[in-house]
Amino acid sequence: MNLNTLTAHELLEKLKNKKTTSQEIISSLYTRIKEVDSKVKAYVRLNQGQPPLCASENALTGTVPVTIKDNISTEGLNTECCSKILEGFKPPYDATVIRKLKSSGVTIFDLKANMDEFAFGSSTENSFFGPTHNPWDLECVPGGSSGGSAACVASDEAIWALGSDTGGSIRQPASFCGVVGLKPTYGRVSRYGLIAFASSLDQIGPLTKDVEDSALLMNIISGFDPMDSTSADFPVPDYTRSLGLDLKGIKVGIPKEYFVEGMDPEVKEIIEEAISKLKSLGAECKDVSLPHTEYAVPVYYIIATAEASSNLARFDGVQYGFRTKEKIQNLIDMYKLTRGAGFGEEAKRRIILGTFALSHGYYDAYYLRALKVRTLIKQDFDRVFMDFDCIVTPTSPTPAFKIGERTADPLKMYLSDIYTISVNLAGLPGISIPCGFTKKGLPAGLQILAKPFAEETLFRAAHAYEQDTEWHKMKPKL
């Protein structure tokens, strides 16, 4: 058995019993990367020299390496958000999640995972380094924006990984690659050191081979951080205690607005089977309504781009990254030429859209209106959660699509996130777990949502389903 194919909890057990060493685990990952990453391209800067692994000295839980998305700051280790504008950037400090991982003895893997530039995208095609390929079908996208993190876990080029989720960027690639992806409640995990995209929506979360690993990683990265003013000062439970419980009496809402036109018939069938499985495990499933669902995508593309236009103002060629090589007369030209050449197409599109939504004369019609509709979307969830423990939906309306299929039409790409976006707008926790395959062998994901800070409910439901199915054990042939 190759070590790289195991889960973190299996490896921790082996480390505890002195059946393996962290060096052996890391070597097995490098061997696998050499074997398959020329096809998958989950990692970036593969051929550049990197500093040695940042293994922690006071290992408490043994050292199982974790792969990090390229937008989470790792001290001294390139963090470029897969953008030309951050070329060569080595953060002067660690993100809080990295600090927490190191102090729990988890090794930070020295190669970082590919992503859409600044997390702008649903396919990882917007990376400055080129697209990642889906391990289940190399002609398809892995989803995005955490496509590298999802693909490296699916292809056994990583044991587990961290991604970030602003509108579905953990859950949608998890669904496309057949792995487990969790977006925690807004405020549950510190974003200090996460290079900001949309500050009222962003969360860091785990991408793992099973639900137990997701709970283990959440135990490490969750909790209050005085360095993040949106971090919630609520106690963190031991999430592994939610594993192994049954589903008797759990009330599950199925939103009818999520089962409408545009949904792939095979995905629909797979999800309906998964819901039957939940029922057979004791869950009480009932139809519910989230009437403002159709407004989530337009609200998101105002709020997320408005916040991004402000957050990305800092990339101006002064303090870090790329600066234009062209001859410049003044400071404004330096900014404009640096940003014009440093940002990719989607980044420019979003910054300009967001700037427009915030500009004089349009603010009320676009930004303020979007914030108000956001209230309506949140109230839809509040109402359902008065009577239900969780909500179950497909993670994505379709399985992974072909590389290049949606790049010409940004709006078509934006609609890939139709089932995941509302969750960020409402700040809820959501998990995507593997729940079946299409006839062509592409994975589909089941999304489970719960009340704010009720990650335990997600782990309970997801684990009960997983224990009764084999989907998470399937491996792509590479």
């Binding site: 600066r323 003044n330 030429l337 014009g340 420019k348 300009i352 427009f356 209230t375």
Partner: protein, 95 residues
């Protein structure tokens, strides 16, 4: 008409992004389409709905005002595209 080419050009200037002519043309068409889609929000009556800018019931978070160690200057300047002594270098701003 939610947005025209001149507005895109002006907005790009506000965002300090240089756009080529072809890029401006393409972007104008795309943004027009996206804003047309976003306009479905105007169907809703939101007169009495309060805005949600952020979902947590946490406001104006303050840390105790205690001095702490800052990042060393050398570390902060290490990523600068252009520097001199302890400064970032930019083109001349004042004539």
């Amino acid at each position: 008409m939610p947005i025209d080419k001149d507005t895109v050009k002006y907005t790009a200037h506000l965002a300090r992004i240089d756009l080529g002519d072809k890029e401006l043309e393409k972007l104008s068409t795309q943004l027009h389409g996206i804003l047309d889609f976003i306009d479905k929000l105007s169907k809703l009556d939101v007169k009495d709905v309060p805005p949600t800018s952020h979902i947590l019931p946490i406001n104006t978070v303050l840390r105790p005002d205690e001095p702490r160690v800052s990042l060393p200057v050398e570390k902060v300047l290490a990523n600068a595209p252009s520097r001199e002594a302890n400064f970032f270098v930019v083109p001349k701003v004042i004539e």
